[in-house]
């Protein structure tokens, strides 16, 4: 090997800690980029493949009831590929004293033409048999196997069905129960039953849902409108194209999140690496300026010097990004597997994304090469004569040291050092700032989520239990419930939905009708309480801004009872899932009904289970939920989210550590003559360490002063990029988080000094002085 190349390797070996730190930053950036981006691609390909295999719907329309033959009518619309008409009803089953709501969907004798099922256990049912297919996750959760017989309660009647198979459906990759805060297999499942069987529940030769596939995706809206025209006479309840299909919409949101993070997060690392490579190489070149001058005097060309120092950053780039894309690929597989494991999907696809690898590799190579080039250019342009005169340590200019003359010498030395190499001080401060920004941008999710859940479960939902009825019930049932032993308070409520249409844009949203009471409060995201409005509706800001609705405006909307009109009383920011509110009496008037479909209860802790099981005996009761169970479900669902936050925190801290370690070590090496001199003068390692600690403390202080407000700002931006029309989380960072961040940054600053202090401790003075001479 060429001896100059040998020198590259020796240079790197001699400073392996620093090269490793910088390479690690590149590695992290590229690994995060490629693992997120590849996960995004894996997931997208997985969904698309599943959708293709199962003829996933393009359009869905729900209506009250229509003759089965309407399907033939719809099918005539130009551009439609297939139409499937079906009946969808609610039922429930009781498993080990636990009641779970089932969405019952009718299926034909053969696979449906739209939204085909993937049977993973058992069989698609035999003709006209009394059998049922269950969504796999639901069956697994309740330990229901193929061949088991389950009793399903539909509209007050009970049917016995044999489980013939376990399935997945493209419609329910994410299972979302309408107007529920959270959906878990504990309380909600999907069941497919033969069409003939559901017809017996008042739908003889009738359907209430159509699912449509089209040939050309661009014609969806037009076809939807034409189908709606046909179905108008049958009271359309809800409709959407595939972009608004609940499961698909949630998947899409997460996909976008993956994609966004894959760019946003690594940018930090690559930006830091630009500085890190520059600092490392500049330091290396400066310490070798004498060598460079001699080499040039011997006849080594500028070009060769430039290439020589480019090779150092080439090494950083190649090793960092090569390992990065490989680790990225592997962790993308893990991430894809872990993520799809929480979904309802029978498989996941992963492959080697050579294109993403290439992008990652090129990015991870180009970035250090660019800053390496700037540094190497300096080396090549070094004046031989200047280099030969020997590198004299930079003299100190720019700050009035006398101002600090009251401070001890070692403290003055620290301050002086900070001002001596301003570029590096700036970079160190920048590393501290970037670490704080990353930490706060991750922590904001924990804090905001924590506060939102606290608000939801300790303030908004102050009740212990809520009851949902099969339909609307009247006061006498409420009286009965109030008289149950252990029930302290009980209030009626209406939990329904509305669909508002505006200029071709339509939004469906939950509507809750409340009395004046204390168990269910309306909070905005600032923590202010709002009363149920005396008239009209309270709309969430998210919806009103989307549909450009203003206060006092009269809006028309679709309800389960047909089209209605009401005034918008107020518009507020509602945390988490957007909900609209009305006064119970007012809502009854608007809808033109009597009664209510839910009750919220405050129950003695000891009597809760008892009350729950007694309530479940009422034939009107669809389900009873304990708030504490829901809270538990949420925490369980959030575990993936917490792992995610943990990793980003870990990455943020590693980035900070790597870059601060790098600059601290460079700082010590650059000053070893000075440190050797001080040692010779009789300063102890402890005293020298003290100056370094002070120096890093000051650095940290500077970084914190800028980093905290900047981190606050970027946390806001990060959080906002995750807000959607499905949920919004009010922004909060707890004071303790700031304190912990400061402590963490300081600890990193001090720990990164340890190798340097050990070096000073074991430093052989005569070796250093000898090097000074040569």
């Amino acid at each position: 090997m060429n001896t100059l190349n040998l020198k590259v390797i020796r240079d790197i070996k001699a400073r392996k800690g620093m090269f490793l730190a910088v390479t690690f930053i590149i590695f992290l950036g590229i690994a995060i980029f490629s693992s997120f981006y590849m996960s995004y691609m894996n997931l997208q390909e997985t969904y698309n493949y599943f959708y293709e295999q199962t003829d996933f719907e393009d359009i869905s329309i729900n209506f009250n009831r229509a003759p089965e033959d309407i399907v033939k009518e719809i099918k005539k619309i130009n551009g439609i590929k297939e139409v499937e008409g079906r009946i969808s009803l609610k039922g429930f089953i009781t498993i080990q004293n636990q009641r779970a709501v089932l969405k019952l969907i009718s299926i034909p004798d053969e696979q449906p033409r739209v939204d085909k099922l993937v049977v993973v256990e058992g069989n698609y049912m035999a003709k006209n048999s009394k059998s049922v297919l269950l969504l796999k996750k639901f069956a697994d959760y309740h330990d229901i196997r193929v061949g088991d017989v389950i009793h399903i309660n539909i509209n007050g009647g009970e049917v016995r069905l044999e489980v013939s198979g376990l399935v997945y459906s493209p419609e329910f990759i994410w299972v979302v129960e309408e107007s529920e805060f959270i959906t878990t297999p504990r309380t909600f499942g999907i069941a497919y039953v033969p069409q003939k069987m559901l017809e017996e529940f008042g739908y003889k030769d009738e359907i209430n849902e159509v699912k449509i596939t089209v040939y050309d995706k661009r014609s969806r809206d037009e076809i939807l409108n034409r189908a709606l025209k046909i179905l108008r006479p049958y009271t359309v309840i809800n409709y959407y194209t595939v972009e608004d299909q609940p499961s698909n919409k949630l998947l899409k949101m997460d996909l976008d999140g993956f994609k966004e993070l894959s760019i946003l997060f690594p940018s930090f690392f690559l930006l830091i690496s630009v500085f890190a490579v520059y600092v490392l190489l500049t330091r290396l070149i400066r310490s070798q300026s004498g060598n460079i001058a001699v080499l040039r005097a011997l006849g080594v060309s500028k070009q060769t010097i430039l290439q020589h120092y480019l090779k150092h950053s080439l090494f950083i780039g190649v090793s960092g990004s090569a390992v990065g894309v490989v680790v990225g690929h592997l962790s993308a597989i893990v991430l894809t597997a872990q993520y799809t494991a929480i979904l309802n999907i029978p498989f996941y696809l992963t492959k080697v994304h050579y294109d993403v690898m290439a992008y990652g590799f090129i990015a991870g190579l180009t970035i250090p090469l660019i800053s390496g080039f700037i540094a190497a250019k300096h080396a090549a342009e070094l004046e031989i004569l200047y280099g030969l005169k020997g590198y004299s340590e930079q003299t100190f200019r720019g700050i009035d040291v006398k101002r600090f003359s009251k401070l001890p010498v070692l403290v003055r030395l620290s301050i002086r050092n900070l001002f001596r190499n301003k570029k590096r001080t700036a970079y160190s401060t920048f590393s501290v700032i970037a670490s704080i920004v990353l930490i706060l941008s991750s922590m904001v999710f924990l804090d905001s989520m924590d506060q939102a859940l606290d608000l939801q479960f300790n303030k908004v939902l102050a009740y212990d239990m809520d009851v949902k009825f099969n339909g609307y019930v009247n006061e006498s049932l409420l009286k009965e419930i109030k008289s149950l032993k252990g029930v302290k308070e009980a209030y009626p409520l209406i939990n329904t939905w509305i669909l508002i249409e505006r200029g071709g844009n339509s939004k469906s949203i939950s509507l809750i009708g409340l009395e004046y009471q204390n168990l269910y409060k309306i909070y905005d995201d600032r923590g202010n309480i709002h009363m149920p409005p005396p008239e009209g509706l309270i709309l969430p800001e998210l919806i009103s801004s989307n549909l450009s609705i203003v206060r006092q405006e009269k809006v028309e909307f679709l309800t389960e009872f047909g089209i209605r009109k009401a005034e918008v009383y107020d518009i507020i920011q509602i945390p988490l899932t957007p909900v609209s509110y009305a006064n119970l009496d007012e809502l009854q008037k608007i809808l033109g009904i009597k009664g209510f479909n839910g009750v919220i209860l405050n129950v003695d802790p000891d009597a809760r289970e008892e009350v729950k099981s007694r309530l479940e005996k009422y034939k009107e009761v669809l389900r009873v939920d304990l708030i504490e169970d829901i809270e538990e479900d949420i925490l369980e669902l959030m575990s993936f989210f917490y792992i995610f936050i943990f990793f980003s925190l870990f990455f943020g801290a590693s980035l900070g550590f790597a870059s601060i370690f790098n600059t601290t070590t460079v700082n010590i090496l650059e000053r070893r003559r000075e440190i050797a001199t001080l040692k010779m003068l009789g300063y102890t390692t402890k005293e020298l360490a003290y100056t370094l600690v002070i120096e890093n403390f000051l650095l940290g202080l500077g970084g914190i002063v800028v980093g905290l407000p900047l981190g606050h700002l970027s946390a806001r931006v990060f959080l906002n990029s995750f807000q959607s029309e499905l949920y919004s989380i009010p922004f909060v960072i707890y004071p303790i988080t700031y304190v912990l961040t400061i402590i963490l940054v300081m600890v990193v600053l001090f720990v990164s000094l340890i190798p340097g202090i050990m070096y000073i401790h074991t430093m052989e003075i005569e070796k250093v002085t000898k090097e000074i001479v040569s």
Partner: protein
């Protein structure tokens, strides 16, 4: 082989001009061992740097084997140094992460037909210490590595600026011995700069510099052996 024709070097320091070299005329032949002597600031290093092509004259011509190097481009100057010049400095400037042998190899790789690295290490008497790193060598040993590094390219001209400047008397003498040896055995012209007048007695010719001007040139009919130097 080398001819300097009315060479001037003026450093512009703001408004004041520092005249480092004035009206220097000089002619050197092959295989000569020349010592440049003069007090500090007299322009010795400047002269050497201009001859070696790491500095350019403000005025005048420097002709090396018929080639006017004062007119060369940056790139051609580099090539000139690569082929024709070996440098030895007061500060050895060895690469600390390369062994003695590797420090020599780095120069050997610059030319098509270098001398054998082991042979060169033998000449400077460093065969045994070839695998040591600079920090493990004494000052004299380090300077001998630097000499080997200059020699290995087999240049017709070696320029040495105070090569004994940071060495003690005994080590200095050994280094000078090696230099005289390669001058005689390899037929390489050597220009050695020093302000130590004792060293002048081992030269074929002594050039006295004073205030940037050649004060006098003295031919030495009977140069003494480096061994016999005393200071």
């Amino acid at each position: 082989m080398l001819k300097l024709d009315d060479v001037w070097k003026i450093y512009r320091m703001g408004v004041v001009d520092v005249v480092a070299l004035k009206e220097v005329n000089l002619e050197l032949g092959k295989k000569e061992f020349v010592v440049v002597l003069g007090p500090s600031g007299s322009g010795k290093t400047t002269l050497l740097n201009i001859i070696g092509g790491i500095d350019v004259p403000t005025k005048g011509r420097v002709v090396f084997n018929g080639l006017d190097i004062s007119k060369l481009s940056e790139n051609d100057l580099t090539l000139h140094r690569r082929r024709n010049i070996g440098f030895i400095f007061q500060f050895f400037n060895l690469i600390p992460t390369l062994t003695a042998r590797e420090n020599v190899m780095i120069a050997a790789e610059l030319v098509k037909e270098p001398m054998d690295v082991e042979e060169v290490l033998g000449i400077v008497g460093l065969r045994k210490r070839a695998d040591h790193f600079p920090s493990e060598l004494s000052g004299g040993e380090q300077q001998r590595v630097a000499i080997a590094r200059a020699l290995v390219k087999k240049p017709p001209l070696i320029l040495a600026d105070e090569p004994t400047g940071s060495l003690d008397f005994e080590t200095g003498k050994e280094v000078l011995k090696v230099m005289r040896e390669i001058n005689e055995k390899e037929g390489i012209t050597i220009i050695l700069v020093t302000h130590n007048s004792v060293i002048a007695s081992m030269a074929d010719r002594v050039i006295y510099l004073k205030d940037g001007r050649i004060d006098k040139i003295v031919e030495n009919e009977t140069p003494v052996d480096a061994d016999e130097l005393r200071w």
